[in-house]
């Protein structure tokens, strides 16, 4: 059997489940309530505690890894999918800016003092690495960036994996705030993560994605709440899902958008 090649730029998937974490909104449930009522969750922690890691690793894990693993595990649990079974697409604009700051600051003063752990945590696929190790997952994992189009490009890659034959795929978008001299080039703040388990034939809202010229949707409640985070361009989709809205357009490149039609049963 050969893979079919249909010349169309339309991609489809079912959204089986959603994981979410933002400051003050430590779960998808909290995000949905915020969209419905405007209320933030009481006593939300400043950083997630990713249960996939051993207890001693949770506290010292980089913020980027903590938020990515937290939303990824929540999405898998909600979909009833074993993390070890899923290929994964991790997308992040900048990776972990506090680690970038550490690397550059140390290199400028005492290069031979670089911490080996910080160095291997500085790779863009650090979260993907911790995820596959923690989950015992030997499936393919990728880590990408496309600046403000990072989530849309991650979604395209995840949906292309479904088109190529994968039954289900985990998509994780996340970014951290900025720190130190990096604030002069990346003026961003807060911690944000969103994860989707996407499948070809599963349950959940049906997603049809098309690339086109145009502008992204205006921010909704979640988009305004987490506007300072570089992964905020993913939020039109999460706002639409929380509100049951039928469409959203995500920034997909210079003057390009990924138009999403969402069908609810």
């Amino acid at each position: 059997m050969m893979t079919t090649t249909v010349p169309t730029n339309m991609l489809t998937a079912h959204i089986e489940s959603i994981g979410f974490w933002a400051n003050g909104l430590p779960s998808w449930q909290a995000a949905r309530e915020f969209v419905a009522t405007g209320a933030l969750a009481d006593g939300a922690p400043a950083k997630p505690s990713p249960q996939l890691l051993a207890p001693n690793e949770r506290r010292r894990s980089p913020e980027s890894v903590a938020v990515a693993l937290d939303v990824a595990l929540a999405a898998c649990a909600d979909a009833g999918r074993a993390p070890a079974d899923l290929p994964s697409v991790f997308t992040s604009t900048h990776g972990d800016l506090s680690i970038t700051d550490y690397m550059c600051a140390t290199l400028a003063t005492a290069p031979r003092d670089i911490s080996p752990t910080k160095f291997h945590n500085s790779v863009h696929n650090a979260a993907a690495g911790y995820w596959t190790i923690g989950a015992g997952c030997m499936r393919e994992a990728t880590a990408i960036s496309a600046y403000d189009a990072s989530f849309a490009q991650g979604l395209i890659e995840a949906m292309a994996q479904l088109a190529e034959g994968s039954d289900a795929v985990l998509l994780v978008g996340y970014d951290t705030g900025s720190v130190g001299p990096l604030l002069s080039v990346h003026d961003c703040a807060g911690l944000l993560g969103g994860a989707l388990v996407l499948s070809r034939h599963g349950k959940g809202p049906r997603l049809v994605a098309t690339l086109a010229d145009g502008e992204a949707s205006a921010p909704g409640a979640l988009g305004r709440h987490a506007a300072a985070n570089p992964m905020a361009p993913m939020l039109p989709l999460f706002d639409a899902l929380a509100a049951g809205a039928p469409r959203a357009a995500l920034k997909a490149g210079p003057n390009r958008v990924l138009t999403l039609e969402i069908g609810y049963d």
């Binding site: 730029n9 992040s92 290069p111 790779v123 496309a146």
Partner: protein, 417 residues
Amino acid sequence: MSFPPMTPLAIRAYTATTALGHGREAQAEALRTRRSGLRRNDFGEGATADARLETWIGRVEGIETLALPPELAAYDCRNNRLAWLALQQDGLPEAIAALRERHGAERVAVVIGTSTSSIGASEEAYTRLDDGAFPADLRRPLLHTPHSPGYFVQLTTGLRGPCVTVATACSSSAKVFAQAARLIHAGVVDAALVGGIDTLCGSVLFGFNALGLVSTRRCLPFDARRDGLNLGEAGGYALLERHDPARPGLTLRGYGESSDAHHMSAPHPEGLGARLAMQGALARAGLAPAEIGYLNLHGTATPANDTSEAIAVRGLFGEGAFGAGMPDDGLHASSTKGWTGHTLGAAGIVESVFALLALERGLLPGMLGSDEAGETQPDPACGPQIRFDNAERTIRYAMNNSFGFGGNNASLVFGRE
């Protein structure tokens, strides 16, 4: 996992620029004559130079004096200069223009791999901060983010399909072939410019040094006496398009990707993830291991990588048909890191170019990195497929392995139709 065979994709153009020189001919000449591009470490300025490591590096000539065209000057940095230099070789601009013409700019994707992007520019900014902020000339957000090379290539080529930077450490620019294949197969685009760029910078020199993985000598891939890698820099590209069976040429036949699920900076000791990636690539290519003529190994020359990869290769390609009486036309597997150094996020594209040269010209490189007396001492884990001498032989299929931190593995199969 097993996969159905994939529809092959045509490779319309390909190129690499490394310490061996600019473009494909320089690579082929150096591979044939066994001329290494490695030199004693002379990289860096300021604190980086004061703390300079004793090692060997694969440094690309001509980057320091290269001037980007005025319209790209705002994106000037070592990584983008190398991206631009590599893009000017082997007729790539004309081949890209032809694809853009044929399909429309929206129907051609840009998928670029890198490990550290242009972090060298961020490192430089930290050495001359202006009141705690980046100096004005470096206050350019798109230079200090992982997507820097993907964005720069998109800007340079005017392509408007999906544009993405893959950053899975040292497997990055092998995975670009897989992602581009999916985009074409799914109908999102009709063609793709794939590639990889990584430049020498303080982060990788001192980072790999902190992990104890940098050799003070020339690297010795698959030699029992190896003690680490040499870092290198490189850029390269390939153009992928739907394959027309009536038109002979080079093809991407298959890809395989996997995770080790083992350790952030050490490979699975038995090369389990490596083997899964190779099996995936063979399955998508619809080929048996015995049909592969050349395998470019990841072969970084770290003690851990080469042993685990040798075990994986021996396990997959077998023992029975080889052994003492191994035929000369059996699999020829080698690491070319002794020529270029480990070019990290560019290793996937550079070594895919070497695999394509093997297919196109029958030039099968062995390994460089013998000791001063010219002796090699193969690691006991090496099966008979792992070769130290060059060979010349016509082959039909070639494979390339690229493995990265986080246990991220990719393997590609190329063909000559």
